[in-house]
């Protein structure tokens, strides 16, 4: 009953919004569906899929350019990175990416893409303007996670089989350090203005924290979900909440997202989401998180402040990555 009142209130609000001048349209979350070769576009306001876009084979990594004018998608089995117009959903062109691109990161210069080529044990650097490969850097076996420091000086590739984080000097495009992490590193992020590097290890079940200045390990986060076998607690993607105070960590087949305090490195909460949660992204003010749940084929919306799953939205088969897109004027 209250929901009906709520929907009436929402309707009145939307009418008010529609009649008010220059107010933002609803923002979107774009989700790659690994097995459907599509992208599902979720309207954040209505929390419904409003568009489905056909892309190359096995889309995984997804990111927008800084001004959100183009979308980059790793079409892993098409061995390419597709550049898509988000307005029309049409593929504008493809970038040379090396074989089997899985994850990538866009440099702060909004021009260079650092792409992990899982099958070739290399990291490919692509200039998105000239559409050429600028460099290929040998890294460990099965590279996957990619990160770049906020100043753009350091790029990180994690290799799943070598169990290392490889530190790349972006000026020389050469490795300057390799640091061991736990088994099968999946995802890396620079946080706290680039002073810390976090790397998640899927099989090791940990996140390793490095001091960027010295590349020394400064902490480790363990996870333990009540009632779930430790083997199934596999940290994969993670993102920081506003102000880098907490991290939300997708714990794969444990079907939970952990809330980690970024100061104490302690897990404060676990939130139940869909099956095999993989990656996530936030809305504009980072009050809502959208997690991709591969096996259950949906996206769970989390209220970050309340640490509560609000609802799960059906998308395509095996959703993998998520990217936020503002659509307001």
């Amino acid at each position: 009953m209250a929901r009906r009142f709520k929907s009436l209130a929402a309707l009145l609000t939307s009418v008010a919004v529609a009649t008010a001048p220059q107010l933002a349209m609803s923002d979107e979350i774009w989700v790659t569906n690994e097995k459907d070769d599509t992208i599902s576009v979720i309207d954040i306001e209505t929390m419904e899929v409003v568009r489905t876009i056909d892309v190359g084979e096995r889309p995984r990594g997804i990111t927008f350019s800084k001004d959100y004018s183009v979308l980059y998608v790793c079409a892993s089995d098409s061995d390419t990175v597709q550049v898509i117009d988000p307005e029309t959903g049409r593929v504008l062109h493809e970038l040379p990416s090396g074989e089997d691109p899985e994850q990538f990161v866009l440099a702060p210069d909004d021009r260079h893409l650092y792409i992990a080529n899982e099958d070739d044990a290399i990291t490919t650097v692509v200039d998105t303007q000239t559409r050429t490969v600028v460099a290929q850097i040998d890294v460990g076996i099965e590279p996957e996670g990619m990160a770049i420091s906020p100043d753009g000086k350091i790029a990180i590739t994690t290799s799943e089989t070598t169990n290392m984080a490889h530190w790349i000097d972006t000026e020389t495009q050469e490795l300057f350090a390799n640091t061991l992490v736990d088994s099968r590193p999946r995802h890396a992020e620079f946080i706290k203005d680039g002073t810390e590097l976090w790397v998640s290890s899927e099989i090791g079940g940990t996140i390793t924290i490095f001091d960027v200045a010295t590349q020394a390990e400064k902490g480790k986060i363990d996870f333990e979900v009540t009632g779930v076998h430790p083997d199934r607690v596999q940290p994969v993607g993670f993102e920081m909440t506003a102000g880098d105070t907490h991290a939300l960590v997708a714990l794969g087949p444990s079907n939970h997202v952990a809330v980690v305090n970024a100061e104490t490195y302690k897990v404060e909460d676990y939130i139940l989401v869909g099956r095999r949660v993989w990656h996530m992204d936030f809305n504009a003010d980072r009050t809502l998180a959208f997690t991709t749940n591969g096996v259950s084929g949906d996206v769970t919306v989390i209220d970050v402040a309340k640490r509560k799953a609000l609802r799960s939205i059906k998308v395509g088969r095996f959703p993998w990555g998520a990217a936020f897109r503002p659509t307001g004027s």
Partner: protein, 262 residues
């Protein structure tokens, strides 16, 4: 004050008095659902993967799933307990005293039902409070909106107890009620497992569960706890309430009902 209200108030006050004098009954009534919630559900937490069915909008743990069923369980056991005490009242003679009132019998019986329902609802809210302390919470509005569902469910299951009590000659026969009414009603419902899960093993069992009036009470409570309304469940519960109440009044009519033979 309207004399009918005086009657209602007196009967509710008597039931309430009896209830607070039997503290162990209150505790026992709470222990039962809490054991289910904190022991049984904890054991099954990971075993039962629940997919999303209305009114839920995302994944839930098993503990969250069974809370509405356990609220209905409190109503069911209390309804039956109340019928047991009616048999006791009849054996002790206080029932005769009650029925000699000049008020229509249906009003006396309804008052009696409302009295036992009030007690049940108190227990349900205490149960929800304890569940909340263990972190199992519903939507804030749900706690308010569930009230009418609890009243209807309580009266319906109480009316069933009333009807049964008109059949039971002695207190000892209550064990039969446990075996043949309470347990089948509880287990053949959506209280412990969703109907689609039941359908995986047997569609016949699913169909039995779907027509079980107790399932409608459980679903009515489940939806209201999430500020939603299941019209079908509400309609069925209302229909069953009218039917069972009518049958119970008929059963207690000395001229026509079962009471005639005693």
């Amino acid at each position: 004050m309207n004399p009918a209200i005086v009657v209602l108030r007196a009967i509710v006050a008597r039931e309430f008095l009896r209830f607070i004098h039997q503290r162990e009954r209150f505790i026992a009534a709470l222990v039962r659902p809490l054991v289910w919630l904190l022991v049984f559900a904890a054991g099954f937490r990971a075993a039962l993967g629940l997919s999303i069915t209305p009114p839920y909008q995302t994944y839930i743990t098993y503990e969250v799933y069974i809370v509405p069923g356990l609220c209905a369980m409190i109503l069911l056991f209390n309804g039956m307990q109340s019928s047991l005490s009616l048999v006791y009242d009849r054996e002790m003679g206080s029932m005769r005293l009650l029925l000699t009132s000049p008020f229509p019998r249906w009003w006396l019986l309804l008052s009696r039902l409302l009295a036992s329902t009030t007690i049940s609802i108190l227990q349900v809210y205490t149960f929800l409070l304890i569940a909340g302390l263990f972190g199992i919470t519903m939507e804030p509005w749900g706690y308010v909106l569930v009230f009418p569902s609890l009243v209807l469910g309580g009266v319906m299951l109480g009316a069933l107890g009333l009807l049964l009590s008109s059949f039971i000659k002695q207190l000892e026969n209550f064990a039969g009620v446990m075996n043949f009414v309470i347990f089948p009603m509880f287990f053949l419902s959506s209280a412990l497992y969703p109907l689609w899960k039941m359908a995986e093993s047997s569609t016949l069992l699913r169909d039995i569960c779907a027509v079980n009036p107790f399932t409608h009470v459980v679903e009515m409570i489940r939806f209201s706890l999430y500020s939603d309304m299941n019209l079908a469940a509400f309609g069925w519960s209302f229909g069953w309430t009218v039917l069972l109440l009518g049958a119970a009044v008929w059963g207690y009519d000395p001229a026509r009902g079962m009471a005639r033979h005693r």
